[in-house]
């Protein structure tokens, strides 16, 4: 297993190199100049002189390969560079923004599991009954409703009208409820139905028939055997969604003024803040790969039939 983990972690190197190179090339294909973008944002008329001075200051006057390898060299020394806009270290900015996002994502992930797991399970057991029909409609609503709209509905009814939660900001548990629910909402429907489908498939497996023959109670069969097996696709999905949520929570972060990675990333793109964009992409790349690795590890625990090559 340690060999497997080592192999996966070393595979990070070419992946991240590729990701950073592609990002770098794509960034430089975008029309516009970061120096001009900065000056515009500062309300400074970008004349030839101001643009030239800023380009020298930011090192944008150097050839592209010099810029890229200069950046790469620093990254190898764990220095992600300085933001063009805030003049702060990219690494510090990422750390500051990453924690709120992790908080939001974890809370959402737990809400997804806590809500979709029992409903998915019950719908599978009571297939075709009222609960199942209800969950089908709920899942339909969940996947079709735009996130921003659901967020505003929550704010309007639960916060403005009923005064149960603060509208926005960050700090207490109450601040976390609406944004995490909004972020979780779309995923809940998906995982509810995913678990239901997977459980229905497993309920017809020979081992279930055998368990019944052994005289085990239905509850025990479902929880001890079927559910565990059926969790596999859900865990794969959640692992992917976790990465998605970490990097793609921008709408929720905007609506609830949640100072996370999504906002940092989008603002950096709008400002053409190259070092910040590169830093964020690289960081997210690591997160994605690590999430996938964790999913694979969890797999083997849940299903003993799945083994790593190294252990064969």
């Amino acid at each position: 297993m340690s060999w497997f983990i080592f192999k996966r972690l070393t595979s990070l190197i070419p992946i991240l190199f590729g990701v950073s190179l592609i990002t770098f090339i794509l960034l430089h294909l975008i029309p516009g100049d970061p120096a001009v973008a900065y000056l515009r944002a500062s309300h400074i008329p970008p004349t030839n002189e101001t643009v030239a001075a800023l380009r020298v200051e930011l090192g944008l006057n150097k050839p592209l390969y010099v810029q890229y390898f200069g950046w790469l060299g620093k990254v190898l020394q764990l220095d992600l560079g300085m933001s063009y806009v805030s003049n702060n270290s990219v690494w510090e900015e990422i750390v500051v923004h990453f924690f709120p996002t992790v908080q939001l994502t974890f809370a959402s992930l737990i809400l997804i599991v806590v809500i979709s797991l029992p409903i998915g399970m019950i719908s599978a057991i009571y297939k075709g009954k009222f609960v199942d029909q209800f969950s089908r409609i709920a899942a339909f609503v969940s996947v079709s409703m735009p996130t921003f709209w659901f967020g505003f509905l929550l704010i309007y009814f639960l916060s403005v009208k009923l005064d149960l939660f603060p509208v926005l900001g960050r700090g207490t548990l109450a601040h976390l409820v609406l944004p995490s629910l909004t972020l979780a909402f779309t995923y809940i429907g998906t995982y509810m139905r995913l678990l239901r489908a997977s459980m229905l498939g497993n309920l017809n497996e020979p081992f279930v028939v055998y368990a019944r023959v052994r005289g085990l109670r239905q509850r025990l069969i479902v929880i001890r055997h079927v559910l565990k097996m059926s969790l596999l696709p859900m865990i794969t999905g959640l692992g992917m969604s976790f990465g998605n949520m970490l990097s793609g929570a921008v709408i929720v972060e905007t609506i609830f003024s949640w100072p996370g990675m999504g906002q940092l990333f989008v603002t950096s793109i709008l400002n053409q803040d190259y070092p910040m964009i590169q830093g964020c992409v690289l960081f997210m790349g690591v997160i994605f790969v690590v999430c996938n690795l964790l999913v694979d590890l969890t797999y083997s625990f849940l299903d003993p039939r799945i083994r790593w090559e190294g252990e064969k």
Binding site: Y38, N48, F99, L117, P166, R170, G171, I223
Partner: protein, 543 residues
């Protein structure tokens, strides 16, 4: 094993426990809780801003916000109503006859927020650090004109200029970079532009007391302040990026007021106004929303076509339907309440028939069975460039497309994201472009000065004016007006420049933008300050 057989439910419960630990463990004292406690003792007002206040350095730019810099730092002179220059940190000033020397007599009762003295030495030190980075501040005309600064005595300082530059006082009112930090704020290198500040020490009415990046900033009253002290003890600025969320937070009374330009949608403003539960106000015009017609393109090179477009554009309909009557109709490039901008011209009124006639005269004729006018077998197609993130521009663009079609003009809409939009604009690749003047204190002189700069990235106005037969003449007059010491000459020159631009029909002013203010009924003293970016925090009170 990760999940033991009978432990599945335990794991499920465990998740709930982690959730609770996670959210409670990450909790900290919130600004709201603190405010509730504070409110009992102190007067606090809360408002929001779309971005973080930045590092609060008056000598640098983005991500610093104008409004927050103006709260903490002050200038030698103040831009008063109607453009009148008023004493501020300087109580008086003398200008030499040749207009090249400005002597400022500083107030003697000014202290920085740390109790240190404000005097000629610190003014010189601030000027020196700004001038050390001249290149970065090159856009401020005055910076290029300052030859030297001299301390006359403890409270008198002299600015020596290369030329008699009339907007000197106007540019000294700018929120950045010519404002002052205290001695203790200087970094070891003494270069505030390159190395930032050690701490945020200014002479202004507010002091930053608490700050969480991208979340909130709390300003308390500066107890050393020399001027009229603010009525409230604290100002909380919450970062709210989304306009609709801002409205909801305001409705829930998490915000005391909403202030600014474009901070909420026109619909939301109208909704809050009509609800009758809140107070609303609209400022005098600050800047002009205009369409820039490119005289360097095939069709719009012709003055008759440009005149036709002026008459074809139904401003009133745009104002009624898109702005709900909130913005005032604009007839001139600058609002006439600014210095030197009240000129005697006849506005171009909406007249579709006249527009058709002018197009006919220009050779663009209607062809039977075809929707668009043609000249030498070519259809009359105009490219209108707009910023995809600006919903107002998009609405006006779509309205114009539909309206101009009736006259046989095919308007091709090109929507681009901000940076690409400006790149295309600078390259002059448009027939019509959305633009706006810069508002006071930059208007009219700085905006006009930018038109004369031949620069790839400068002002799109330069390229768009290149097709004008009078371009050279306009540029010369603009350069001359900035160096004229005679007030009468200046008035005549400004009038000439603005009249020529009007006659050349190069700008199609749509409406004058205004600041909005929406506030709870227990808030008083909300008024608009002359500079668009200043928030009236000193006069605001909570009842």
């Amino acid at each position: 094993m990760f999940i033991k057989r009978s432990n599945l439910f335990h794991s499920f419960v465990g998740l709930l426990v982690i959730f609770t630990i996670l959210v409670t463990g990450c909790s900290n004292t919130t600004i709201d809780q603190e405010n509730t406690l504070d409110n009992e003792k102190q007067k606090v007002v809360t408002f929001s801003w779309p971005g973080d206040i930045g590092d609060l350095n008056p000598h640098t730019y983005f991500p610093n916000e104008f409004f927050s810099q103006a709260m903490v730092y002050e200038s030698l002179v103040y831009y008063g109503k109607g453009g009148e220059i008023q004493p501020w940190l300087a109580e008086s000033w003398d200008i030499s006859k040749d207009g090249k020397e400005y002597v400022f007599h500083l107030r003697k009762d000014v202290e920085f927020s740390d109790g240190s003295v404000f005097n000629a030495a610190i003014v010189k030190k601030n000027f020196d650090t700004i001038l050390d980075n001249r290149k970065q501040h090159e856009w401020v005309g005055l910076i290029n004109q300052i030859k030297d600064t001299k301390i006359i005595d403890e409270y008198t300082i002299k600015l020596i200029l290369n030329n008699a530059y009339y907007p000197t006082l106007q540019e000294l009112t700018y929120i950045r970079p010519l404002r002052f930090v205290g001695e203790a704020a200087f970094p070891d290198s003494q270069n505030t532009f390159k190395d930032g500040l050690k701490s945020q020490i200014g002479t202004g009415p507010w002091v930053l007391s608490e700050y969480k990046k991208n979340e909130f900033a709390v300003f308390k009253r500066n107890e050393h302040y020399w001027g009229t002290k603010p009525k409230v003890d604290k100002v909380v600025v919450k970062v709210i990026t989304d306009g609709e969320s801002r409205v909801l937070a305001f409705e829930k009374k998490e915000l005391d007021f909403i202030f600014g330009n474009g901070v909420i949608s026109q619909d939301s403003f109208q909704f809050l106004k009509n609800s009758g539960q809140y107070e609303t106000k609209l400022s005098e015009p600050t800047a002009t929303r205009t369409l820039l017609l490119n005289s360097n393109r095939e069709a719009t090179k012709d003055l008759k076509v440009r005149l036709a477009l002026q008459h074809a554009f139904n401003k009133q309909a745009v104002i009624d339907k898109i702005f709900y009557g909130m913005e005032k109709k604009a007839d001139t490039l600058f609002p006439p309440i600014l210095p030197y901008t009240k000129i005697n011209i006849e506005p171009y009124e909406y007249d579709a028939e006249k527009a058709k006639m002018l197009l006919d005269e220009a050779g663009w004729k209607q062809v039977k069975g075809k929707p668009f006018r043609e000249k030498d077998g070519k259809e009359l197609q105009l490219e209108l460039l707009f910023n995809s993130t600006d919903n107002i521009q998009k609405s006006i663009a779509e309205f114009t497309q539909g309206d101009f079609r009736k006259l046989g003009i095919d308007v091709k809409l090109t929507s681009q994201e901000t940076n690409t939009f400006w790149t295309t604009a600078f390259q002059g690749k448009f027939d019509l472009l959305f633009t706006a003047t810069w508002s006071v204190p930059f208007d009219p002189h700085s905006y006009l000065a930018s038109m004369t700069t031949n620069s790839e990235n400068g002002s799109p106005d330069y390229n768009a004016q290149l097709g004008l037969p009078v371009k050279k003449e306009i540029d010369q007059k603009i350069k001359k007006v900035l160096l004229t010491t005679d007030e009468e000459d200046r008035k005549i020159l400004y009038s000439d420049i603005l009249t020529t631009l009007h006659e050349q029909a190069i700008y199609l002013p749509i409406s004058y933008q205004s600041n909005i203010a929406v506030y709870q009924k227990n808030i008083s003293g909300v008024d608009f300050l002359p500079q668009e970016a200043e928030v009236p925090l000193t006069s605001i009170d909570v009842n």
